[in-house]
Symmetry: C2
C-alpha cells in the first residue's frame, strides 16, 4: 500500500512555481463550475501520519479555491451530545451539501485508527463494516468521495522530528505523541495498512500520497481533486445497473396484507381498561432506571386514514412531554434536499432517555417515492439495504426501534374519508392527494409487501396491525411497544 509513496518523490521549487498557478486557476474554475452546475457534493477524507502535511494541504486547498464553499471538519473525542447517539451521528450531520466541498479530518476513521494508539478510545467506534456501508451509500447517492492518505516513511518521519528539534523556534511542535509514533512506527504502519486495504473499495479507494515533500504532495493532492471533479462534471450521471433480481412477483392473489384478519375488534369497555393498563405500563417503563441508558424510536406507517395520528396521541398520553418528540414526515425542506436521503432522519435521533415518534418515516422512500416513481426501482432496492443498515446501527447503539404498519381495507378507508368530509374540523385532513393515493391502492399494496419482505429483520421486525377497528389497533400498538421496551431492558 505504501511502497509507491516511498519512492522519494520530489518536485523542485522551480517546477512548483511553474505548475502551481495553472493548477490553482483550474481548481478555482472547477469549483465554480461545481457550484453552478454540479448536483453532487464533494467529500474529501484526509488521513495520515503526523507531520505528513494533512493540515497544510487542506489549508492550501482552501487558499487555492474559494473558502466560502468549503467546509472543514475535524473530530475530537465525541462531545456529550454526540456520545449519546450512534457513533456515525456526528459524521452524518457534518456531510457537505450538494455543490459544495466538505473536508473531514479522519472522519469515521477517527476511532479505528487510534485503536492501536496509547490514548483512551471512545467505544463503540464505527466498525469497518459500517465504514464500508456509509461510503457505499454516499457513493451510490452521488457524493464524489475522495480519500487522501498522507504517508511518511520511517526515515522521513525521523528526519522531520530531527529538523524541528534542531530549531528552537519549532522545537515545541514535536510532541510526545510524535516520538511515540516513531517508536511504534512498524506497528502503526501495519494498522494503517490493514485499515486502508479493508476500506479501499472499488467505489472509494484510498489515494496514498507521499507527504515528505511539500511541493510534491500539494500538487498531487490538487491534481487528484481537480481531475476527479472535472471528470465527474463531464460525466452524465451513469444509470445505476439494475440489480440482478427483482422482488418476487405475486402469481396468486394472496399476500401478507390481504391475509390479515381484519375482523379483530375490541369493545369500548374493554378498550378503556386495556388503554389505562398499557399506558400505565409504558409510563413506568420510560421511568425505569435502565431506560436512562436507552433511546426509543417508534415509527408508524399506513395508508391515509389508517389511524396513525390517533394512535400517536394514545402513545404520547402515556409519556412526559419533556421526554418525547413527534416528527411528522412530509416533503423534505430545501436544506434536507441537499443532503443524502437519510440525513433528515439522522438529525432527529433521540438522546438517551428520550423518545422520537415518526409519523411516517424513512420508509417513504420505498412506499410513496417508489409508487410515484420519484426514485427508480434500482434506488429503491438499494434503499432496503441502506435502511436495514441504518436500523442495525441504531439497535447496536441502544436505540429501541419499534415499527408499525397500520393495515386497513379499502372499504374502511372510504368510510373514514366520507366521515372526514362530514366533520367540519376534520375536513382539512382530507386532501386531493388522499384520493389520488387511494386510486393507487394496488401499487401501494405491492410496495408494502416488498418493504416488509426486505426490511422485516430479526432485530427490527415489522408489526402489521389490523386497524379496521381503531380501538383494537391502538391497544395492539401500545402492547407491542411495552413488550419491545421490556425485552430491550431485560437484555
Amino acid at each position: 500500500m505504501f511502497e509507491a509513496a516511498e519512492a522519494g518523490h520530489r518536485i523542485s521549487l522551480e517546477e512548483y512555481k511553474v505548475r502551481e498557478p495553472a493548477l490553482r486557476q483550474a481548481l478555482l474554475e472547477a469549483q465554480y463550475k461545481l457550484l453552478e452546475t454540479g448536483n453532487f457534493p464533494v467529500l474529501i477524507i484526509v488521513g495520515g501520519a503526523d507531520g505528513a502535511g494533512k493540515g497544510a494541504t487542506v489549508n492550501l486547498l482552501n487558499e487555492w479555491m474559494d473558502p466560502r464553499h468549503i467546509v472543514t471538519h475535524a473530530f475530537d473525542e465525541p462531545r456529550e451530545e454526540e456520545a449519546e447517539r450512534p457513533p456515525m451521528w456526528r459524521f452524518w450531520l457534518a456531510l457537505p451539501p450538494k455543490r459544495h466541498i466538505g473536508v473531514m479530518f479522519n472522519a469515521w476513521y477517527h476511532d479505528i485508527l487510534q485503536r492501536d494508539d496509547q490514548k483512551p478510545r471512545h467505544d463503540p467506534a464505527p466498525s469497518l463494516d459500517e465504514i464500508r456501508n456509509i461510503e457505499q451509500m454516499l457513493a451510490a447517492d452521488g457524493t464524489l468521495l475522495l480519500k487522501f492518505w498522507f504517508h511518511l516513511s520511517r526515515s522521513a518521519q525521523k528526519e522531520r522530528i530531527k529538523e524541528l528539534e534542531s530549531d528552537p523556534k519549532t522545537r515545541w511542535r514535536v510532541t510526545d505523541t510524535d516520538r511515540q509514533h516513531l517508536r511504534h512506527y512498524k506497528r502503526l504502519r501495519k494498522t494503517y495498512e490493514y485499515v486502508l486495504h479493508e476500506t479501499s473499495t472499488s467505489i472509494a479507494p484510498w489515494s496514498v500520497i507521499d507527504g515528505s515533500d511539500r511541493y510534491y504532495r500539494s500538487l498531487t493532492a490538487g491534481t487528484l481533486l481537480l481531475d476527479a471533479i472535472n471528470k465527474r462534471l463531464a460525466q452524465k450521471r451513469p444509470k445505476a445497473a439494475p440489480p440482478s433480481a427483482q422482488p418476487v412477483p405475486t402469481l396468486d392473489s394472496r399476500n401478507i396484507l390481504n391475509t390479515i384478519d381484519y375482523t379483530q375488534a375490541l369493545n369500548k369497555k374493554h378498550y378503556q381498561i386495556q388503554l389505562e393498563k398499557y399506558q400505565g405500563r409504558l409510563n413506568l417503563l420510560t421511568r425505569h432506571p435502565r431506560f436512562a441508558r436507552k433511546s426509543l424510536i417508534i415509527l408508524l406507517e399506513g395508508p391515509d386514514a389508517a389511524g396513525k395520528g390517533g394512535s400517536i396521541r394514545r402513545i404520547t398520553a402515556a409519556l412526559d412531554a419533556r421526554q418525547y418528540r413527534v416528527i411528522p414526515v412530509a416533503a423534505p425542506t430545501d436544506e434536507e434536499r441537499t443532503k443524502p436521503y437519510l440525513w433528515r432522519f439522522w438529525r432527529h435521533l433521540p438522546l438517551k432517555n428520550h423518545i422520537t415518534i415518526f409519523d411516517r418515516s424513512w420508509y417513504g422512500r420505498v412506499l410513496v417515492e417508489r409508487v410515484e416513481k420519484m426514485c427508480s426501482d434500482v434506488v429503491c432496492i438499494r434503499s432496503f439495504h441502506e435502511i436495514n443498515d441504518f436500523e442495525a446501527q441504531l439497535i447496536r447503539n441502544d436505540v429501541i426501534v419499534v415499527k408499525f404498519w397500520l393495515a386497513i381495507t379499502k372499504d374502511v378507508q372510504l368510510k373514514r374519508f366520507r366521515s372526514r368530509e362530514e366533520t367540519p374540523y376534520k375536513q382539512y385532513k382530507l386532501t386531493e392527494d388522499d384520493w389520488r393515493n387511494r386510486r393507487k391502492w394496488a401499487s401501494y399494496e405491492k410496495a408494502v409487501c416488498d418493504m416488509v419482505t426486505y426490511t422485516s429483520t430479526a432485530i427490527s421486525p415489522w408489526h402489521l396491525v389490523p386497524s379496521n377497528d381503531v380501538e383494537f389497533a391502538r391497544i395492539r400498538i401500545l402492547k407491542t411497544i411495552c413488550e419491545s421496551v421490556e425485552a430491550a431492558l431485560a437484555d
Copy 2:
C-alpha cells in the same frame, strides 16, 4: 402578584367533566386552524413552584391537542456546546417555527430563578434586560408569547408534601429540594415576585395560575391558550406604529461615504510585505493561549464587486481550516423563513477558539431588505435595536466582533463589472441582480449611512474601508482584525 392565585380557586370534578370536552375540542380546532392559516408561532413559557402542576398541565395540553405539532423543551444545566455560546444561544435554537406551538419549561428564566437557590448556578445567565429584549423582539416579530406561572401558596405547598409523604407509593416524589423550598418559601416568593414583576411587560405579561387544584389550573391554562390563539387568528396583523422620529434626512450632499478618501492605495511590493506581516500576526493571535477562551466573528458588507471575497481569502489564508467557517449569506432557506430573523445567524455562532466569517450578514435587513422594501421602515428601525442587542450579547460573552463596510465609488464598480464580463471564469459572478442593485446606488448609500449611524457602537464600531484599491483594503482589514483581537486579548 400572587394574591389572586391564593383565593382558593376550585373546580369540582362534575363541572370539569362538563367543561373539559368542549375546551378540548375548541383547542384542537384552534390548533388546526393555526396550522392551516396562521403565519405565526406560539410560544408558551411555563414556570412556577415545584408541584404546582407545570409538567402535568403541559402533558395535558399535549393530550388535548395534536402532539405532532407541539414541541416541548426543558432546559437543564447547559451542555458543553451550549456553555461555549452566549446563554441565549440554546433558547434561540429551540424557538418554534411558524404555525407550531412550542413549550419551554422556564426558558431563559432557568438561571435567574435559581439564583436564590442552593444549587450551583451557571454563569453568566441571561440578565433581566436580555430577557425583556428577547421577548420584545419575539413579540414584535409576530410570535404569540404566553407566560404561565403556576403558583402554590405556602400552605398548599405544605399540604402537597404532607399528602405525598403519607402514601408509601408517592413518598419518593418528595425531594430534598421540595423541603428546602418550603423552608425558604418567603425568600423564594420574593425572588419570584421580583422577576415576574420585572418581566411582566405590556407585550408579554405573566399569567399567574393557582396550581393547587388540578381541575381549576387545567381549565384556566387551556382557556388562556385557546383565547389567545383565537384572538390572534381573528386579528389582522396590526400595522406597527411608526417610530416617532425617522433617521436624520440628508440636507446637503455630504455623507460618511462620499467623504472617504478613496485615493488611498498601496503598491504591489509594499502590499506583499504587509500581507505577510499581518497574516503572520493574525495566525499567531489565533494560536494565543488566551484566544482559546474567545470566539471571533468577522463580517464583511459592501456593494457588489467591492472585494469581499478576495478579502476573505486573504483572511482565511492566515488561518487553519479546522478553526474557521465562512458563511455566505444569501436568501434564507425555507426552514430559516419559519423562524425569527436573527435565528439563521445564531445557528452559526462559533465555538470558543473558533472563527466565523460572514460574507454579508444580519445587516441585510437594513440594507437590501430596506432598499427593496421587503421590510418596512418601522421594522428596519426596530432592527437597529435588535442588532445592537445581539452584538452586545456576543461581546459580553467573549465573542470578538469585527465588522467592515468595503466602500467603493460608482465608477470603480463599473470598471470591475466590465472586467468580470471579460474574464470567462468570472462571468458567473456578474448577474442581472448586480446591475439592478447598481441602479439603486443612491438608496443603498442612504441605507448604509443610517446603518452606520445606528449600529456603530462603542463596543462594536463599523470599520469603513476605502476599497477602490483592493490591496489597500485587504491590508487595512487584516490590520484592523489583528488590532481588534489584540485589544480583546489584552482585556
